[in-house]
Symmetry: C2
Subunit: 253 residues, 2 copies
């Protein structure tokens, strides 16, 4: 499928769709919070690498010029005062003229390179959403915005972990190298079978848990900081952009 | 010299000083322009990779916790309505309670790795400031801010250009890979002997011009956009931070 076909037809998580194209997280906030949101992202570049910021009120991004951000994602979340109030598939009715949208790099982007290198991706093989966890690591705050780091988990055969690190490290704009390998408790994660977002995956013998910083972090920030209004993607339900993943590859594979 | 010693004693360009530590460009603007400045940086990450943003009014950065940004740089520039009005060595008297300072990565940071790989650095060998040029490439604007890309020039032996590209590409936070190799006219640069900032360098036989995006770009933006007030570093006279350059190395050398 092309990115445009995904944007028009996908209804579930977007991992593995339109392989070779960059995927992005969405966080849209009223303009009076945009500086703090952008500052939060700058201060937390591992979970929040910003790929684009829209002009105030505009539902259009240079990452996908033909797309309407209010309909291009398979599913959204609408937040009021830090509470999740709706999970629609179209946010045209919720959009406001004062919204500024940040598009944040997504680790699904480097999955194409991981797969090409022979690294199995359990969530895709098992047909589920990638598991994501709220950690006990606080992000660096910015003004009114604060909250914990969220990570995505991939169970990777021990002998391939170094390759997964080397490949993802080359793409810092889509979260780069893992933040932790091996011990979930080091991140305050008690149970890998109970993710905070997405679905659990079945590990294979010899798999090691590898955690990457995740663009769902701004949603944990909404829960912690409780700003009046925001729209995000639903975890795993990303904007598939028209930008080739190689655009964010700093060093050739 | 340690970073602190450089901050206390340096009077000229900082290339080659406190080798192994990250250097940064400075652009401080009033808070009402801070969002547009940060947005400009996000939209132009090659010239403007943001390493830190200070809290409003604070002259302190996490990059060098003991330093005072008003005195830690060897030389500054003070701008009013787009005009350069002073080049002091201390901006304590110019500082304002509404200033927000952006610290932007500097290519001097990867010079340590270039030198370690045997790549000659003509400006340092000749005891001059690195040459910098305003190009004919417009940056992507943000609100009231617009202006051309500025680049730094290093004359590099042809056989070492690939190595210089590979090394710098690993450090996107300090400008990453070059924006152009070979032909100055491709960037609208007419005369390599007449840089817009810094000093000319003498090339050796077989040298090729290699151009990196430069953190002086915000100063060209001040000239083009003419905001009421700003403070910057003087080109080549950087903040030497306490952060090891390896912190910004995405992939090992």
């Amino acid at each position: 499928m092309t990115p445009d076909q995904v944007r028009r037809t996908a209804t579930g998580p977007t991992a593995g769709l339109a392989a070779g194209y960059t995927q992005a997280n969405l966080i849209a906030v009223p303009a009076d919070l945009a500086y703090e949101m952008l500052l939060f992202a700058q201060r937390n570049p591992k979970p929040c690498p910003v790929l684009d910021v829209t002009d105030t009120g505009s539902p259009h991004t240079v990452l996908a010029p033909g797309a309407d951000l209010r309909t291009a994602l398979p599913r959204y979340r609408v937040w009021r005062d830090g509470d999740l109030v709706a999970e629609p598939t179209d946010v045209t009715g919720y959009w406001r003229a004062d919204l500024v949208a940040l598009l944040i790099g997504c680790s699904f982007t480097f999955e194409t390179a991981l797969a090409a290198a022979g690294i199995p991706l359990r969530h895709r093989d098992q047909g589920v959403n990638v598991p994501m966890f709220v950690t006990d690591r606080e992000c660096r705050p910015a003004g009114r915005l604060h909250g914990p780091l969220v990570v995505s988990l991939r169970m990777i055969p021990a002998g391939l972990v170094d390759l997964a690190v080397a490949i993802s490290a080359r793409m810092p704009a889509v979260h780069g190298a893992p933040v932790h390998v091996g011990d979930p408790t080091a991140l305050g994660i008690a149970d890998l079978a109970a993710p905070d977002f997405g679905d659990p995956v079945r590990a294979h013998d010899g798999d090691v848990p590898v955690f990457w910083a995740c663009g769902v972090t701004p949603q944990a920030v909404l829960t912690a900081s409780r700003p009046p209004f925001a729209i995000t993607h639903a975890p795993g339900h990303m904007l598939v952009t028209d930008v080739r993943d190689t655009e964010y590859l700093t060093v050739p594979l």
